[in-house]
């Protein structure tokens, strides 16, 4: 169906076959915490609350991974500093709540705009640097912020963090709270997924795809590569910062050094890589897989859990070079644009 609005045309694929799998996916995500809570209690020695917390962590990984995939496609570069923007969003929410009494409804747009603003300021790096230079620049950002949190511990609270951030939900019932947090976080993931999916299927998504493949070819197509990179980096940075906002209001505090750790970066990068190259749906699957595996290894292997987790993930990277999405794509892939018969005049 083509929708005409504001003097432009928008494509909207409405055939049920395009909706079947997303609907199944959404229902699964919505039913998952209830199923796990009632039927998987005690499996691998995991407590129900810990299991639900793991699923919320999966949603946080997905909240970061989804815009990060869009950023990777639209800039043609892999950022090693997504957790920097998580910290930017977290600190914005925590500082505004604590110092100025902002409610979560106000800190949400503030976190997004702060992330986007810093993203805009940094966006020229997507044009002027590539390869190891881009990696180093983006890798340095979280380290700088890390140092800053200690240097200005009066503001950022160093490893104590900023406590006293108002909680998003508080009913007094721990299980109920955590269940609601799960649904809030999954709603955020689904909203991000919807927008990301629409962007990737739009003409801008197509242009981003060309940039990702070959910037010089994109230029020869008449695509303003620099403009698309700046817009992509800015908006996705803002979107990643929203994950920080959620963390601050979910935990009631924000401690940058916890989230600026390289191990968190590795989990984010593994989420996007195991999801599959440029695959937003794959990111959701890998986020859930990694978060659950992390919880299982934590309960089963104690101090060795991180080592075991990363070894398992490394093996998976080796045997699934195209990630989880690659597995699905092999069996179920369809071209988005339907075939049309063309009759020449």
């Amino acid at each position: 169906m083509i929708i005409h609005a504001f003097g432009r045309k928008y494509d909207w694929i409405i055939e049920p076959r395009y909706w079947r799998n997303p609907i199944i996916g959404v229902i699964t995500l919505l039913a998952l915490p209830l199923l796990m809570y009632f039927f998987a209690t005690g499996v691998f020695g995991i407590r129900p609350v810990a299991l639900l917390s793991a699923l919320i962590f999966a949603n946080i990984l997905a909240m970061i991974g989804t815009p990060l995939v869009l950023q990777i496609i639209g800039t043609g570069r892999v950022s090693f500093g997504p957790h920097f923007f998580v910290a930017v969003g977290g600190y914005t929410a925590a500082l505004l709540s604590k110092n100025y009494g902002f409610s979560p409804a106000l800190t949400l747009p503030a976190s997004f705009f702060m992330g986007a603003l810093i993203g805009l300021g940094l966006s020229p790096i997507t044009i002027i640097s590539r390869g190891i230079y881009f990696v180093l620049i983006t890798l340095l950002l979280p380290f700088i912020l890390w140092e800053l949190t200690y240097w200005r511990s009066d503001v950022f609270g160093a490893e104590t963090g900023i406590p006293g951030v108002p909680l998003l939900i508080f009913t007094g019932d721990v299980v109920l709270d955590i269940m609601i947090y799960y649904y809030v976080s999954i709603a955020m993931v689904l909203i991000l997924l919807f927008f990301t999916d629409r962007v990737m299927r739009s003409r801008y998504g197509f242009m981003m795809g060309v940039i990702n493949e070959d910037e010089e070819v994109a230029l020869s197509y008449g695509i303003d590569v620099a403009k698309i990179k700046v817009i992509t980096f800015t908006l996705t940075s803002g979107a990643i910062a929203v994950a920080g906002w959620f963390l601050a209001h979910y935990q009631g505090s924000f401690t940058g050094p916890v989230w600026l750790q390289p191990s968190f970066l590795i989990l984010i990068l593994l989420t996007t890589t195991l999801g599959g190259k440029g695959a937003v749906y794959g990111v959701i699957a890998s986020a859930y897989f990694i978060a659950t595996l992390r919880e299982v290894t934590r309960t089963q292997f104690g101090e060795m859990s991180v080592v075991v987790l990363f070894i398992i993930l490394l093996i998976l990277l080796y045997i699934l070079p195209e990630g989880f999405w690659g597995l699905y794509r092999k069996r179920r892939y369809r071209e988005y644009v339907p075939s049309i018969r063309i009759r020449r005049a």
């Binding site: 045309k9 739009s202 070959d214 230029l219 197509y221 644009v337």
Partner: protein
């Protein structure tokens, strides 16, 4: 239509293009030849905006485009193909052309389905419609060349810069590509600058030849006259010019 004056491009101590000047009229088809390393591809890269010149001027349709970026020149109607086909290998043939339709000036006014339809039209011109759903990675070199031409044409260019469309093709395929280039020139009222190493074909296909040697333009005349010029013969010593 296109005026190139005193164009110079240096790479370190090497002068790849040295004070090159020429003009191209609308509808002309011009061959650009010269031995390896003569500066032909650099000249095309300068015209398309891939490189910016160290000195000199390029005017297109009366406008100075010397400092314009590559994507701005593409929007103005300067399209090019590459010496080694540069296509998106993990996409289908039609998606590659569709990208070009969407990137063109009119692309923003088209829906995706309309862009798909237009892409199919351009594939059909090159008899590639039946290959529309084939991954580029699975196409042979002949079809990659055709696909590059279809993609360039989808930008609705005013001038088309073709960089060695015959490389890697057998004589029969080269002949077919040559005929197609002449056909699209007539059908779409195109101006073409065509770099080529297969001299026998290009001499038959163009009205005017530019010869470059060590970055300099050493000849600019009809094919018949160019092959008799001593400086051209000297540049091609050891090779049969035609």
């Amino acid at each position: 239509m296109l005026e190139v004056s005193n164009l110079t491009k240096r790479f370190g101590g090497v002068i790849a293009v040295n004070e090159v000047s020429f003009e191209v009229e609308k509808g002309e088809i011009i061959g650009l030849i010269g031995p390896n390393g003569a500066g032909k591809s650099t000249l095309v890269n300068l015209i398309s905006g891939f490189y910016l010149p160290d000195s000199g001027k390029i005017r297109f349709l009366g406008e100075d485009i010397t400092k314009k970026k590559m994507h701005e020149r593409a929007k103005m109607g300067i399209a090019r193909t590459f010496q080694n086909p540069r296509l998106i290998s993990n996409m289908t043939a039609i998606m590659n052309v569709m990208y070009a339709v969407l990137g063109s000036e009119r692309g923003s006014k088209l829906s995706l389905v309309e862009a798909y339809g237009e892409a199919a039209y351009y594939l059909d011109i090159f008899d590639m419609l039946k290959k529309r759903d084939v991954l580029v990675a699975d196409l042979p070199i002949y079809e990659l060349r055709l696909l590059e031409l279809a993609r360039a044409l989808a930008l609705k260019p005013k001038i088309l810069l073709i960089d060695e469309a015959m490389a890697g093709l057998n004589p029969a395929e080269a002949e077919r590509v040559s005929k197609l280039i002449n056909r699209i020139r007539e059908e779409f009222d195109l101006t073409i600058i065509w770099i080529e190493h297969v001299l026998k074909i290009i001499m038959r296909s163009v009205e005017r030849i530019l010869v470059m040697h060590y970055g300099k333009l050493i000849a600019d005349d009809t094919p018949e006259k160019v092959v008799r010029m001593p400086e051209v013969v000297e540049a091609y010593i050891g090779e049969e010019v035609v």
